[in-house]
């Protein structure tokens, strides 16, 4: 085995070749650091004790899916009344909550900040056992139909907006026309389950009653709405698939009843599926992180091919010393352990560097990739990661030492000892050299090809024409505040007045009112079922928005047929951009 004598000798001899040592440590440390970072990340995502919530394996998200003629037409959109029905169903669930992820403006804070708001039933925060820094959670009295305006804010909001003032509990936040009294602040360590969108963090939780769904939609089975869902803890022993099935059957029956009397040739059905929290939270980020880990593995292999070359060259320089040792009776194993201690020291330092890099890059990831990768907030250096780094180092040390000792031809070492020094004991075989070089080239090519593919794809997306000129078009998002409760006619005249005011500005050429911008990420359009004939045959699901007569000309959107909507429109008119089937 390795003796302390070997180690101190290795240390001394490495000290004489500092540049060689530094090259190996840096090359390997960085390559291994990349791999270990990704290992740490994937471990956190895939293997670490899954979620920090009690009974996480029984936590589910329930969303609606709409099928037409047995084909999925709309996923993850739910009927408002169905969600409330499910919420009230107590056969399958130990605990159940409604949640609606939205954003709104806090009107009574300076700057009227737009923040992420989640409308929840009181059970929502209890499901994840959200710890509190101050105050209390919602209680059952603040449940559905109580209309008690209270709010729980996140630690970050407390810090940002209230400088962690302890009398925050005496204050309130104004959304729309309502003042919500702050009753609690979640603790710093609370990790909100990101079941809706990666990286989205709620700033304020408000009672479900105050969500902005219009009254007409609240009892309407025809509308399928996004962002609203049910979260639930399944009773122990209940099979999620059969619960999904029974809930779907129940909701489908309700849906059929609500739609009774409408003649339609389309066979429609709704489904309410239980999706595990883990699936929702992880999304598809693990495929990506695993792919990147594959990339870092290739990087490490390239680094190893390089290092093998370096180590073999050094061994060639040390062959005289090895020959002397062999002449004095050193066995193969002595030479091997001497090599191993030298290489092992280098690998150990490289592994420590890799661990350091992992710690640093994990923190960096939290800042730059929070929206691409789930559960980043929780990311820490795991024990298995440390073990992984050290095992990698050990494996590589043994691997390199074996390669080098296999290259030593013990039969001819003697020739090194004669004064003339004829011949060489360590000769890097031409085959090995060829393999090293061609494998480096091959792996580098692979990396280049893959990253080029990714780059070209991204480039295509980025440079894809929008289809209309956007150079001088600006978007103004209006917070309609207290107009929310006004009648449609009142709202319209108010918006038109705002438009007129805008037009008076010399730099404004034209302005249009619309519900959405053409390319919008945060607020998808709503979806309507259209059909070409009165019999409602072959409907199409079309993204829909509401616009005025100026919208299309501002965007210069081309018409395929017909004319633009005009101001005199009056009755319902549709403008189809193009329908893809």
């Amino acid at each position: 085995m390795i003796k302390t004598k070997d180690l101190s000798a290795a240390l001394q001899s490495l000290n004489r070749v500092r540049r060689y040592s530094a090259t190996i440590i840096l090359t390997l440390g960085i390559a291994l650091g990349a791999l270990v970072t990704l290992f740490n990340l994937n471990y956190q995502l895939l293997a670490a004790p899954l979620l920090p919530y009690p009974d996480e394996d029984r936590l589910y998200v329930i969303n609606g899916n709409l099928y037409q003629n047995k084909q999925l037409r709309l996923a993850n959109n739910s009927q408002y009344p169905a969600l409330v029905e499910i919420y009230k169903n107590d056969t399958f669930f130990e605990s159940i909550a409604l949640v609606y992820f939205w954003e709104d403006v806090i009107r009574n804070l300076t700057g009227s900040p737009r923040v992420n708001v989640s409308y929840v039933s009181p059970e929502y925060l209890q499901l994840t056992q959200a710890p509190l820094a101050l105050g209390r959670q919602f209680n059952t009295d603040e449940g559905l139909d109580s209309r008690i305006p209270v709010a729980v804010i996140s630690y970050q909001t407390w810090e940002q907006r209230f400088q962690r003032s302890p009398n925050v509990l005496e204050q309130s936040l104004q959304f729309g026309e309502v003042d919500f009294r702050i009753i609690g602040v979640t603790a710093k360590g609370f990790i909100e389950p990101q079941i809706y969108k990666q990286g989205r963090q709620t700033a304020v939780w408000l009672p479900w009653d105050f969500n902005d769904t219009q009254e007409t939609h609240r009892n309407n089975w025809r509308g399928f709405l996004p962002f609203r869902m049910v979260t639930a803890k399944l009773k122990a022993g209940i099979d999620p698939d059969s619960a999904s099935h029974e809930l779907s059957t129940l909701m489908d029956a309700q849906d059929q009843a609500a739609l009774a009397g409408r003649s339609s040739s389309i066979e429609r059905s709704v489904e309410y599926r239980l999706t595990p929290f883990t699936d929702k939270i992880l999304g598809d980020s693990t495929t990506r992180t695993l792919m990147v880990m594959g990339g870092t593995l290739v990087l490490l292999l390239i680094a190893c091919a390089n290092i093998t070359n370096l180590i073999l060259s050094r061994a060639a320089k040390q062959q005289r010393n090895m020959a002397i040792q062999v002449a004095l009776g050193a066995h193969k194993k002595h030479i091997f352990f001497a090599l191993l201690s030298e290489i092992g020291l280098l690998m150990l330092v490289a592994a420590l560097l890799a661990i350091l890099l992992t710690a640093v890059s994990s923190e960096a990831l939290k800042v730059i990739a929070a929206e691409q990768i789930s559960r980043l907030q929780e990311l820490t250096l795991n024990w298995p990661t440390l073990l992984f780094a050290l095992l990698c180092a050990l494996f590589l040390a043994v691997f390199f030492a074996t390669i080098v000792s296999r290259q030593i031809n013990y039969r001819v070492l003697n020739q090194m000892l004669q004064s003339s020094g004829k011949g060489y004991g360590v000769q890097i075989s031409p085959l090995i050299r060829k393999v090293l070089i061609s494998s480096q080239v091959a792996m580098t090519c692979l990396l280049i090809v893959v990253s080029l593919q990714i780059f070209l794809h991204a480039n295509r997306l980025i440079n894809q024409p929008f289809g209309f000129p956007l150079d001088n078009v600006q978007v103004l998002t209006l917070n309609i505040g207290n107009l929310r409760s006004a009648s449609a006619a009142e709202r319209e005249s108010y918006l038109k007045a705002i438009r007129q005011r805008l037009l008076t500005h010399p730099k404004v050429q034209n302005a249009s009112l619309s519900l959405n911008t053409p390319i919008s990420i945060s607020r998808p359009l709503w979806t309507t079922s259209l059909s070409q004939d009165a019999s409602r045959q072959n409907p199409v699901m079309a993204k829909t928005t509401v616009i005025d007569e100026n919208y299309l000309s501002i965007l210069g959107m081309p018409r395929v047929v017909g004319r633009h909507i005009n101001a005199a429109g009056g009755g319902p008119a549709y403008q189809c951009r193009r329908v893809f089937r």
Binding site: N321, A327, L328, H334, L413, N414, L417, S419
Partner: protein, 233 residues
Amino acid sequence: MSKPILHMAGITKVFNTEEMETHALRGVDLSIYLGEFVSICGPSGCGKSTLLSILGLLDLPTAGSYQIEGTEVAQLSLSEAATIRNEKVGFIFQSFNLIDELSVYDNIALPLRYRRQPIPHAESDKKLKECLEKVGMSHRASHKPNQLSGGQQQRIAIVRALVGTPSLLLVDEPTGNLDSRNGDAVMEMLRQLNSDGTTLCMVTHDPRYADMASRLLHISTPQLVKEPHETAL
């Protein structure tokens, strides 16, 4: 004389290089007996060092039979050969072959490190210090070989060959790099060792030292002429 500890019959060594074949040894027959002092001389390039390295199991003959204490050397595994080199043979090279990166002390400690039975540190330390003392090099223990003169390096090389108390000592030109005073001292040491029972096989160009041996072998040309004759003692 007692039984031979080394026995060579028809030993041939051919070096194959790209351009040519070099016949370094042709049909050597040689027996060395326990406690003998054999000296080998001959012109440069006649194969003296080659013969010595075959004797010391550092190289294998191309043809012929070589037995060491009755065992056919060709049949030894690498590690058996290493053990014999470590425990039975001491080698003093023409070019010292000290490891420049190690201190004098660490250089001479090498043979003990490769022992099958590990030697306790205190014991080996005592022995190494005694040996250095004997050649008057104690004060240089922590120096590196390249900080020493040729004669001093030669003494260290001798100490390294001796610390393992070998029964056979193979010496290649021990005085080649030394002045006559140092040369005499080295020879005196070797003679003393031989009279203490170590079998000695020495290559030398110097007829004065060759004559100190109990038997003189002469290799005359690259074609070996073997004509061992007893020197008058």
